[in-house]
Amino acid sequence: MNILLQTIMGVQIGHIIMWAIGGLLIYLAIKKDMEPSLLLPMGFGAILVNLPFSGAQAVIDHIFEIGINSHELMPLVLFIGIGAMIDFEPLLTNPKLMLFGAAAQFGIFFTMFLATLLGFDIYDAASVAIIGAADGPTSIFVAQTLNSSYTAAIMVAAYSYMALVPIVQPPIIKLCTTKKERLIKMKNTNKKVSKTTKILFPIIVTVLVGLVAPDAVALIGFLMFGNLIRECGVLNSLSETAQKVLANLITIFLGITIASRMTAAEFLQVETIIIMLLGLVAFVFDTFGGVMLAKFMNLFLKEGNKINPMIGAAGISAFPMASRVVNKMGLEEDKTNFLLMQAVGVNVSGQVASVIAGGLILAFVQG
């Protein structure tokens, strides 16, 4: 009886708040369909590790140690699955679209500056800013490599905002563009990309990024390895396994493992609220960066070749939500204005650019 009472008496207000947060994540995952594959395990994990004297903590800590803390194994393996899912063809047919992916990383660097102004040290500022990569594995990889004490908050922010892209982006896009700009129709290129290009692309990008930002070579390498499996044409079974079984398996463990850092003591800090706000700033300025580059390029382009600036917003790597948002907004303005092809091209370029940004941040910050 005493043992039972001891556990119940061990419940603190912090635990209850964390149960509520866990419940909220589960609600958002199930009812609002917001990144359910991650928010649900994270929500449940948050409840699990916040039970007084939780026996689950040790097990989850162990998985965290092996799967994340030690060489960021899980996010990297997940990248093989993501790489196998991505079709780079829309980007390869129009490689100039990559510029928007690059511009849409502006939010990362702006947020890093802002976080430093708010008193975060450069390692934590960089870790927080990488929420703007809109890419879970990159966020975990950078935050863990820089040994940030805010990994859980960063993860929750990254995945929450990825799920909130359809709510966060449209007002920013509308604010940055005129109706006339949103009505711009873009020509669809019917170019075909050769199989050789598709096979060489992942290899070349890996070598190039590896030479410039060696710290990111694991990230880009695993992503491009997954893509090579997909495009080589002789490993269809492996490609399917990577896309489905492997990605799903890692996702199950990743969410619940991240939750091991969601103990009340670690999570309920003023910094968590600030990190959530900074994450939002990162997404807003990513969108701003992509749209503004398109507007800038339009100054030099002839009528008929102009770019619909909304596609710049798809440069954040939240795939495929960002491209769907842009296509939907295009159709809302004009029912015959299909921007999906261009937006998908920009969106996959954002995936590559976010990894490059992560690698460069690691290279510059670690010196």
């Binding site: 008496m9 419940v11 603190q12 207000i13 912090g14 390869l92 047919t93 490689p95 100039k96 990559m98 510029l99 992916g101 690059a102 990383q105 502006f106 990362i108 660097f109 702006f110 890093m112 500056f113 430093t116 102004l117 708010l118 008193g119 975060f120 040290d121 450069i122 500022a125 960089a126 170019k191 075909k192 990309v193 050769s194 050789t196 290009t197 060489l200 692309f201 070349i204 990008v205 190039l208 990024v209 410039v212 930002a213 009340a264 309920l268 800090q269 003023v270 910094e271 600030i274 370029s349 590559v352 650019a353 490059i356 940004a357 460069l360 941040i361 510059f364 910050v365």
Partner: protein
């Protein structure tokens, strides 16, 4: 009255309130509010005293980072365009097909 003295008084008041509430509620609330209030005060202190060296450093990273991304992207665009040109079928061959 400068900002530091305001923060110090806020800290003293919040600590006093929290310890009173904690004493009332016992173990359930524990040190949660005290720790949270302390965190808020520490954070406010950090904001009011930014390190100029860190800011200069981060501005440099910001500039180099954006430059780096556009540089690498530019090279990738160049290589992909070259690959597309080299591996696309000649027009005549296409027409024959």
């Amino acid at each position: 009255m400068d900002i530091n003295s305001v923060i110090t008084s806020a800290e003293e008041i919040s600590t006093e309130i929290v310890s009173e509430v904690s004493a009332e509620a016992g173990g359930f609330i524990g040190t949660f509010f005290t720790d949270f209030a302390q965190g808020a005060v520490d954070f406010a202190n950090k904001i009011t005293s930014p390190d100029p060296d860190s800011i200069l450093n981060v501005l440099e990273v910001m500039g180099m980072g954006m430059l780096g991304i556009f540089g690498v992207t530019g090279v990738i665009i160049l290589i992909v365009s070259l690959l597309n040109n080299m591996t696309s079928k000649p027009r005549k061959e296409k027409e024959d097909k």
